[in-house]
């Protein structure tokens, strides 16, 4: 009887409505809470890393939570430092960006923008979130181990990450386990998104009528579904190495029998790892393409070209992993091929990049907060993309590989572009998700503060890398060729703190705007896509009547419609022309 009550019509308990909910909008908010928590967690670790690089082996001040380090005399030890950058990378990539972009906006937007009632598999969706939650607990549990969390880098290359690699304790094993569980969650999500997009589009919603955000999320899910199993397999082998003494990735002195191959792990890791960077950035490309169109009041320039170019990048992204391994000593012929394939990516990338500029061209540009962030993405992604050329070049990469230049480059593409893109999305869809508008004055301060400080931080990270500073070193002043960089490292740190402060402002904006009484109107941005046709709160099941789609997603400023500069996807243009 009791079980019946739980499973039956009793849909309104707090537990079923807000915790174990199968509603994609609730799950999106759950992912948003998880992602935001880890974004600030990972960000705090970045601050500590920067502290150590600017003021090596000095006492951590109280406002950076110095009391954590009290047992070590208030300073960050080398072991602790390695844990910090390892967990910063792992958490930001897998626990902050992925849940924020794919978990939150994948869940929220896909059913609403393609006009369906929910995900194809609502229970799997719920299960995906709670598996992610479990993975989070496993990951965080490594902090209470006597020797602390993992410290082998977010790449966790064996043999260093194997027990014989010399890292004490269980942190590395827990890390592997947490990532495997996270992978399971990601795979469940990816399958769900793909099936939903393929099977549940509302009548009239052709592939080429989908908003580009959906294109980005859809392509990212395909990459997730194909490549997460690869890393999962690699991690399972690594876990066996770590726990039952197999030697898949051990060689030389560390192997007792027939040697395994440490490079095999790197291949497996980067076969997944390079598509992973596109998994993170694809949703942003799509979202920015849409938002530029909304706030320029003009159709997205070359919509089909953008969609096809993004798909081409997805296809190419699976063929370029070797550019992470130029200096490993793999076959020189492979190096050449990987360089060529990597450079090919610049053709489709420059095409959709030009389309972004084309959207602005002859538009009517409104500088709302989401638009500022989207324009910011054009800037940072332009820089991030172009600086990738150095790393794609076999010879230049001999010098720049494993330096701060690489760190600056991928922070431009991943941290800067993805952060600005996520913020654009949050400012834009906040009224749809919570029925309130985020404060635009605070939003603009947040934009300018973040934009200036993150450019200072990431550009100068590249500059110190250019000067030779290699990454993951505890104290750069150990080396005579890096001594003159201490001033610059200090300044990067100061701007990194500023960047952190502006994010606190963002958190304040969210809390403050949620507390405001004033409700947002139904379609505050006069957007054409389907999610704005349902007022807040959107009920479980989304649409009362299945919407029918007549138009593409970017029908702005049509000359044949009087008195209105947009035409919703579900609106028949004849209704307006006749009026």
């Amino acid at each position: 009887m009791g079980e019946n009550k739980m499973m039956g019509s009793n849909n309104n308990t707090i537990i079923s409505k807000y915790i174990f909910s199968t509603d994609h909008k609730v799950i999106a908010k759950q992912f948003m809470a998880l992602g935001t928590f880890f974004l600030f967690f990972g960000g705090a670790m970045a601050m500590l890393i920067r502290w150590q690089l600017a003021y090596p082996e000095q006492k951590v001040p109280w406002w950076l939570l110095g009391f954590i380090f009290e047992s070590d005399g208030g300073i960050i030890t080398p072991d602790m430092y390695n844990q910090l950058f390892t967990m910063h990378g792992t958490i930001m990539i897998f626990w902050a960006i992925t849940p924020l972009l794919i978990g939150t906006f994948g869940n929220f937007l896909i059913p609403l923008q393609i006009g369906t009632h929910d995900m194809a598999f609502p229970k799997l969706n719920m299960f995906s979130f709670w598996t992610m939650f479990l993975a989070s607990l496993v990951l965080l549990s490594s902090y209470i181990l006597p020797n602390g969390a993992a410290s082998g880098g977010w790449t966790s290359y064996p043999p260093l990450s194997s027990p014989s690699g010399g890292i004490p304790g269980l942190g590395q094993t827990i890390w592997t386990l947490a990532l495997i569980i996270m992978g399971v969650s990601t795979m469940m999500g990816a399958i769900n998104y793909i099936v939903t997009v393929v099977r549940l589009r509302t009548p009239g919603m052709d592939y080429f009528k989908m908003p580009l955000s959906i294109w980005g999320l859809f392509l990212a899910s395909i990459l997730n579904a194909v490549f997460v199993p690869v890393i999962a397999a690699g991690l399972i082998l690594l876990l066996l190495d770590q726990t039952i003494g197999t030697e898949f990735f051990l060689a030389g002195r560390l192997a007792s029998g027939d040697p395994g191959d440490p490079l095999l792990f790197q291949h497996v890791f980067w076969i997944f790892g390079h598509p992973e960077v596109y998994i993170l950035i694809l949703p942003v490309w799509g979202i920015v393409s849409d938002l530029l169109s909304v706030f320029s009041r003009k159709p997205a320039y070359g919509y089909k070209v953008t969609a096809i170019a993004m798909s081409t990048v997805v296809a190419l992204s699976s063929l370029v992993w070797g550019h992470h391994m130029y200096t490993t000593g793999m076959s020189p012929l492979l190096g050449k091929s990987f360089m060529f394939l990597t450079l090919l990516i610049s053709i489709p990338s420059s095409m959709f990049f030009l389309n972004w500029l084309g959207t602005l061209w002859r538009g009517s540009i409104h500088f709302n907060t989401p638009m500022l962030f989207s324009i910011g993405v054009i800037w940072v992604f332009g820089l991030g993309g172009l600086t990738g050329l150095y790393n794609a070049t076999v010879t230049a990469d001999i010098y720049l590989h494993d330096t701060m230049f690489v760190v600056g480059h991928f922070h431009y593409t991943l941290a800067a572009s993805v952060m600005l893109g996520s913020f654009a999305a949050i400012y834009y869809w906040f009224p749809c998700m919570f029925g309130k508008k985020l404060d635009s004055r605070l939003g603009k301060i947040h934009f300018w503060g973040s934009f200036i400080s993150l450019n200072y931080v990431f550009f100068n990270m590249m500059a110190v890398g250019y000067a030779g500073q290699h990454r993951r070193i505890y104290n750069p002043s150990e080396y005579s060729f890096l001594k003159h960089l201490s001033g610059m490292n200090e300044w990067i740190t100061i701007f990194a703190f500023l960047l952190g402060i502006f994010q606190a402002l963002f958190l304040f904006n969210i809390v403050w705007s949620l507390a405001k009484k004033e409700k947002s109107e139904k379609n505050p941005w006069h957007a054409t896509t389907l999610e704005w046709t349902v007022g807040y709160p959107i009920p479980h099941g989304n649409f009362i009547h299945e919407p029918i789609v007549f138009n593409g997603p970017h029908e702005y400023s049509r000359p044949d419609i009087p008195n209105r500069d947009w035409l919703g996807q579900n609106e028949d243009k004849d209704d307006f022309i006749r009026d």
Binding site: T393, A467, I473, S557
Partner: protein, 276 residues
Amino acid sequence: MNTIFNRIKLRHLLYQGIWFQDLPKDVSVDGYRIDNVISYTDLVISIYFGIVVALLVYFIFQYRSSRGHKAEYDHGDKRKNVMVTAGLGFLVFFSVDAVIETMAFKDLREAFWNFPKGENVVRVEVMPQQFAWNFCYPGPDNEFGTEDDIIPTQNQMHVPVNTPIVIQLASWDVIHSFYLPNFRVKQDAVPGMITPLWFQAKETGVYDIACAELCGNSHYKMKGYLTVESEEDYQKWLNENSPQETDSDGWDDWEDDDSDDSGIPENWSWAWEKIK
């Protein structure tokens, strides 16, 4: 909060905070090739990024709604538009990517993968371990793995100036990376693999050797010194480090000691692999 302001030294802003850094001084014969590729990339991406920013700024001011500009209903999907976008994409590819690729492949063919042969080549075996660099020179018989091999103090590498140096790199435990910033050299040392590399110094002096691949908690301290010196000084240094026939405290001891992992590796050194 006061602490942070005390720590900020204003002079840093004046001359260290805001401008570009230079690459470290190049003292190798072929390092200029890498510097050239980097400079070319610097130049072209600055131009392209400059154009993008100029367009962006122009569009933002010209087409802002507050200026009353009405948007044009244009999907940009006509044949002509697509051709222009694709054309510009290929222009970028051929003016940047193809040039860089040609330069890089030429440098690889002519220098980095063109290993020097002949009598005057100095051969060194390098084996990093957590957290030190071990070096081995073949000694008078020019053969590795023999009694007269010269194994100097850890972290000390000496090479003669203006002579090609061919190195074979292996690792004793985890992955390390042999990084000579002043020579534009970086090569991973992977357990189970023997990896060749070569360079030639053109100026004497003492330069840093760093480990570029995370190898554990003292990764940052895994530092060596490369002394580039004249041929005479180099020979003198080799003689000073030669194993003494009568001295039993040489490296032989380590070979017998198979229980201790902390010292110089016991299977030091391996037979020199032929470079194809």
